[in-house]
């Protein structure tokens, strides 16, 4: 049975990484080997990265890179929470590097505080992202046509042409609708976060 302890003010990373943290409960369990690290974290880590890139190919590449980078210097004599903290720090770096390499700007990033709850805290195994709920909030606040074009394009996977047909507008009109809807969604998102 796992013994839990209250730890103080700092989470020591498995290598050189350190992270200031609030008072929290750490699971005293440790991982037996790299395979248990992998099995316990692959799903959550992939979901987290997928939520930041929006496509499988990049999510798979970056998840692979995180594990390759993190596992090599990993010490296993630290708690699971510390290992997950290290994986999270590695994922932040890998994602930032990905956007710097492909776009030159940071398009999305992993917020440590948000991700930590699901990825690091013991006993949490749900999706490490509140994206679906947040997206529903945003869509619910939009005018019908804007909401519909975004649903067709990004939730139902329609092409612009298919979305235009479904909405009985021209393709160019659908593109304009999509662009305006995305801008409005971004603005509503900022208000949701505020």
């Amino acid at each position: 049975m796992a013994v839990q302890k209250i730890t103080g003010t700092r989470v020591q990373g498995p290598t050189t990484a350190t992270r200031e943290s609030h008072l929290r409960v750490l699971d005293d369990d440790t991982y037996a080997d790299w395979e248990s690290v992998y099995q316990d974290n692959i799903d959550r880590l992939y979901r987290l990265i997928y939520s930041k890139v929006g496509n499988r190919a990049d999510a798979e590449d970056l998840t692979s890179e995180v594990f390759r980078t993190a596992l090599r210097p990993l010490r296993l004599d630290v708690s699971k929470g510390e290992v997950r903290s290290y994986l999270l720090a590695t994922a932040q770096t890998v994602l930032a590097s990905h956007w710097r390499r492909t776009l030159g700007v940071s398009l999305t990033s992993i917020d440590a505080e948000t991700a930590r709850d699901a990825l690091i805290e013991p006993g949490r195994s749900d999706v490490p992202s509140d994206a679906p709920q947040r997206v529903q909030q945003i869509l619910a606040a939009m005018p019908e046509r804007y909401r519909r074009v975004l649903e067709l394009r990004f939730l139902e996977g329609c092409t612009v042409k298919e979305a235009a047909q479904a909405m009985r507008v021209s393709v160019s009109n659908a593109k304009v609708l999509q662009h305006r809807a995305l801008r409005m969604a971004a603005k509503i998102g900022e208000e949701v976060d505020a």
């Binding site: 930041k52 929006g54 798979e60 890179e65 596992l71 390499r101 394009r153 801008r183 971004a186």
Partner: protein, 219 residues
């Protein structure tokens, strides 16, 4: 109005494809739109779970890296037989690619037309792709000539749909050798290259996102 490259980015995200971006940084307004598109796409029901094949394949690759086999490793190119097979394959590729008649090294009689000599061991540059942990990823043969030829086989990087190979020269310059399409983690590439094979230092495989997967010093 959305520029063409932003439209292409949004189309890729909507379709679940890897987006491409060329020529400079996006404008701040475009960044906002692109970021929102990613968030919307990532919220699509059922798409956020990892593919089981990917999970298994990555586990296998990591096992190869972190659980090195006990005893002798299989380094096919380092064995005489493996080298011979790969050189033979390279020779076959050179023949097909050049669409010329080639002599058989063991039977030179009766050959009337030789526009493209068969590769011989002493003129080839060969190497074995190895991951940082020592796992063998494949082999490469570079045949110097006009044009030169590069032949490679790649194995066990199944989480990628393709890998790119770059040749590094002794003067520090880099030449793209080509992209290897992978099926079940395996693929081959044969291609003419305009490079002085004597100046080659090594070859490196990269994932589609640019991560170096393994290198092959060329002997």
């Amino acid at each position: 109005m959305t520029t063409r490259r932003v439209s292409a980015f949004l189309d890729a995200i909507a379709a679940g494809r890897r987006p491409r971006w060329r020529h400079g940084e996006p404008e701040p307004d475009d960044v906002t739109v692109m970021r929102t598109a990613i968030e919307l796409r990532a919220a699509r029901p059922g798409d956020s779970s990892p593919n089981e094949d990917f999970v298994v394949a990555l586990h296998r690759q990591l096992a190869d890296e972190f659980n090195p086999p006990q005893g002798a490793e299989i380094r096919s190119l380092r064995s005489h037989r493996g080298r011979t097979l790969l050189v033979a394959a390279a020779a076959a590729v050179a023949l097909v690619g050049g669409a010329v008649a080639v002599t058989d090294a063991a039977n030179r009689h009766g050959v009337t037309s030789v526009a493209f000599p068969a590769p011989h061991d002493h003129v080839l540059r060969t190497g074995t792709f190895e991951a940082p942990g020592g796992r063998v990823l494949g082999q490469i043969v570079v045949y110097p000539g006009h044009p030169g030829w590069v032949f490679m086989n790649v194995n066990a990087v199944s989480s990628y749909g393709s890998v790119m190979c770059k040749l590094h020269l002794t003067n520090g310059s880099v030449v793209a050798a080509g992209t290897v399409s992978l099926h079940d983690g395996m693929g081959q590439l044969s291609k003419a290259v305009s490079v002085d094979a004597r100046r080659l230092r090594d070859a490196t495989l990269y994932s589609p996102s640019g991560t170096a997967l393994g290198s092959a010093p060329l002997a």
